[in-house]
Subunit: 126 residues, 2 copies
DNA sequence: TCTTGACTTGGATTGCGTCCATCGTAGGAT
DNA sequence: ATCCTACGATGGACGCAATCCAAGTCAAGA
């Protein structure tokens, strides 16, 4: 556990949002000015492997890192600006996939993504 | 409607799979050798705008294009090799998101993605 | 003190997608 | 039939996110 990794973990712990790697880097730099982007990517990858952070690829843009990994939840994503909100899960989402429909896959998780426009994006002209 | 756009549409119609833009281009080149990648991207974008094809960003890699847009369905994705299988929807997935939980968003669609390992990837060493 | 190995760094590189200047061509006007 | 015009195609340049890599730094142990 180096100071760099600690800072990355702290940035995510403090913020209950869905940051991109570059946003995490920007916040990390405030505490440790010389930390590199490569190190942020390494630290994030390790946190994801440990299951402490969830990696989200909601669109074709930058992945987002979600520190709220202990409480399973879904996401509401704005198709225009990319804003993400957490949504509490309703029922067991795995229930929709009976054994016969799994094609032999070993299913480990389910992601439910609701897409639409956030209030401020819906307000503007289409 | 140019010959290029027709070829892209035909490639997707014929294949009931989930191709990347480059895979669509490779198949299109077999029928129209000089078609460019830019044109394939343009044609795919138009088909997506028309609602005839669904664009999927299941991981951080290339987007995949799904011609099965008329029948809403979910996806089973192999975390290792990226293989995608269609899964029939069970019930109305929008039911899990009551009005009070929408944060003012205008929700237009829901994606359910089951992640795991396909049979051949599960067979190999971890 | 010296050695070793793990970690960091910054720049190069890759993958995917978009942008843009230019070109070709189908269709309408003359 | 010839000319104009506008739309779409082309291919290469470009941009962004992420990874790779060679070199540098550092701490712990012999
Ligand atoms: Mn979240
Ligand atoms: Mn599908
Ligand atoms: Zn928005
Ligand atoms: Zn697989």
């Amino acid at each position: 556990m180096t100071s760099q990794r600690r800072v990355v973990a702290e940035v995510l712990d403090g913020e209950h949002v869905h940051l991109t790697a570059d946003e995490v880097h920007a916040r990390a730099v405030e505490r440790l000015p010389e930390i590199s982007r490569a190190t942020v990517y390494n630290a994030l990858g390790e946190l994801v492997a440990l299951g402490e952070v969830v990696e989200l690829s909601t669109d074709g843009r930058a992945k987002r890192y979600d520190p709220n990994a202990r409480h399973p939840h879904h996401h509401l994503v704005c198709s225009r600006c990319g804003t993400i909100r957490d949504v509490p899960p309703a029922g067991d989402p795995m229930a929709g996939l009976p054994e016969e429909e799994r094609f032999g896959f070993t299913v480990s998780k389910v992601e439910v993504t609701y897409r639409g426009l956030c209030p401020s994006c819906a307000g503007r002209a289409a």
